[in-house]
């Protein structure tokens, strides 16, 4: 029989990569523009930026195009690109009260200072396929845009800032101090530079969650919401908008705004016993790039769950959660099972055959004994 040519692997791989690119380009449709993906698939962009841990909408659009819509691959590409970029420094902390809000709601209160601003959301849409979208009707698009902006009140008051719901609770002594003295960090962790060690610091944990894969995090958070664990949450506030990115000036050291970043922030409240015996609300915090509400809410849940004093389910086990929510690591390892494992398998086969022989010999001698 023919032996698999040792040197043939090279060519096969080249062709496989070519074929992958070909699948995407073989059709009659015009190539997707980066602008089209960025504008019309903006939620996919937001998801990929968050999981890739790199805020770069154009690159995210390119990654989505190149990966033919596989968000795991696209996030991976962004992460790999990120690793090649030089680290210039760390931005200065910013309060999300400074957010230029585009959406802001609270489930904890019927009404809140500044109001419930629904913003752009699919939450209230009927999930009925719109067959009109099958046609690319430019006239219809224009008419729709005109309709949206017609009859708008010209004198609507838009507050420039919205107070945080949790600051109301804090003022009334209802919110527990999240950061106990023992856990104050003198230096923030940077998980891209140091490995996670357990128990992980809050900054390390939040970083890991912020770049986690949406589906994985949702599954874990869902398990908690359904009852695996003892957290009974309420969404204190969800806000989406643009935060200023401030760096210390390289010469003067003064704060210097270099741009803005769209983020989703979720704050989840759950009841807990304070150290002084007085019950309070504890806070779970979620923050991620772009508009990704499922992820931010899940993140807030997971933040709270993993700080449980006595974990009673996987979602409350910090090690379990933080090790398994990174999409790039999970997909890499899942995919690696497709690599050749024949040496390992053969080794296993050898063991199995040996064990089978022993088992059979044992059975035979037991039967022989029984016969006597």
């Amino acid at each position: 029989m023919g032996y698999v040519a040792v040197k043939g692997g090279n060519e096969a791989i080249e062709k496989a990569c070519q074929l992958f690119a070909y699948e995407r380009t073989k059709g009659q449709s015009p190539p997707l523009g980066i602008d089209q993906i960025r504008e019309q698939l903006y939620l996919a962009i937001d998801r990929v930026m968050g999981e890739g841990s790199l805020y770069a909408p154009d690159l995210a659009a390119l990654a989505i195009k190149q990966s033919a819509g596989d968000t795991f691959e696209a996030s991976f590409m962004l992460r790999a690109f990120r690793a090649t970029q030089q680290r210039l420094g760390y931005s200065l902390p910013v309060s999300t009260e400074k957010m230029r809000v585009v959406r802001r709601i609270s489930s904890a209160f019927k009404d809140i200072p500044g109001g419930q601003i629904l913003g752009a959301t699919s939450d209230y849409t009927l999930r009925l396929l719109d067959f009109d979208l099958l046609k690319n009707d430019e006239a219809r698009r224009c008419a729709f845009r005109e309709k949206v902006f017609s009859n708008l009140p010209t004198d609507a008051e838009i507050p420039s800032a919205f107070p945080k719901v949790i600051s109301i609770l804090r003022r009334e002594g209802l919110l527990a101090d999240t950061i106990e003295a023992a856990h104050k960090e003198s230096r923030l962790s940077d998980i891209t530079r140091q490995p996670l060690a357990f128990p992980a610091s809050r900054s390390a944990s939040l970083q890991a969650l912020a770049r986690g894969e949406t589906g994985g995090m949702l599954a874990l958070a869902y398990s908690s919401m359904r009852g695996y664990g003892n957290i009974h949450p309420t969404l204190g506030e969800l806000r989406i908008g643009y935060l200023p990115l401030t760096m210390p000036h390289p010469v003067t050291g003064k704060p210097y705004v270099v741009g803005e970043v769209k983020v989703t922030e979720a704050e989840v409240l759950a009841r807990m016993q304070g150290s002084d015996g007085v019950p309070r609300f504890s806070l779970g915090y979620g923050l991620c790039f772009g508009q990704n509400e499922l992820k931010a809410i899940s993140m807030a849940m997971l933040d709270r769950c993993t700080r449980t004093e006595k974990p009673s389910s996987p979602v409350e086990d910090q090690e379990f959660v933080l090790y398994h929510i990174d999409g790039i690591e999970a997909m890499g390892f899942c995919n690696h099972w497709k690599l050749p494992h024949y040496v390992d398998f053969l080794s296993d086969l050898d063991r199995l055959r040996k064990a089978q022989n022993l088992a059979r010999t044992r059975n035979l001698s037991e039967n022989a004994d029984a016969d006597v």
């Binding site: 692997g9 050898d350 063991r351």
Partner: protein, 298 residues
Amino acid sequence: MLMYEWLQKDDELRADKAQTAGYPFGFMDDGAKKEIRRSILKAVAIPGYQAPYGSREMPIARGWGTGGIQITLSIVKPDDILKVIDQGCDGSVNAVNIKKFVAMVAGVTITTDTTAATIIQTRHRIPEERMTDQQILVLQVPYPEALREVEPSEIETRRMHAEADYSRMWLYLYEDIVNYGEITISYRYPVTVNGRYITDPSPIPRWDVPKLHMSETLFLFGAGREKRIYAIPPHTTVAPLEFEDHKFRTENFSGKACTRCGATDTYLDEVIDNAGVGRSYFCSDSGYCDKRRKTWNR
């Protein structure tokens, strides 16, 4: 640049070409490499101990050798001669990807000859030809934690290593013997390094485990996804876990020989023919097999 474009470049890539492509020598930034070097030195100073490190993303997926690649890229010199193998084979998917990448960003010469290489990066095998103190073997590791089989929690396995509390591992092996008549672990056979740490030698077959003991060469183990580096220096004791009455045994190839080169003393791949009936055997170490074929007259 796309992976398939990298793959299309010819093998004679030099460091200057890598710079034109926009990547620094060794691909990663200096901070990443320094951290890896610090971890490597500590790993060598504490044989068998898993030193944690930050572990950067590579353009190759996690689970596909990023740990090994990061080590290689942190230690490589432009005049190195690199061999990369997967399951013993130079032409395998994983090996080809990796060597093209390293050649691209470090300008090294590629070889399939074990004796000519200065650095060998490998997945799941140690080459048949004995390596020297002028060479380094970099092993790709999917599961760095030997104790993971008996304990899923990292906090707990750290404690077990800290206190050399390995009773649960020994119990696991003992139960194997009770249930199956012998220790059934095939690859990833646990070993004690320098009489102190129980270490996972990576998914090499049992056949290769004895090569780690008192060798001339340095073994560096990289787990990218799990973010650990560990090492077995030369002239270090490496003892597979065994019992007095159930000694460690390698795989048995008696009566079998390589169809290509006739070797009876190498680890053999079993290949099933197209009819699904016949069995042939071939050296897993393809480079060694090639060499033997040249000198062996059929």
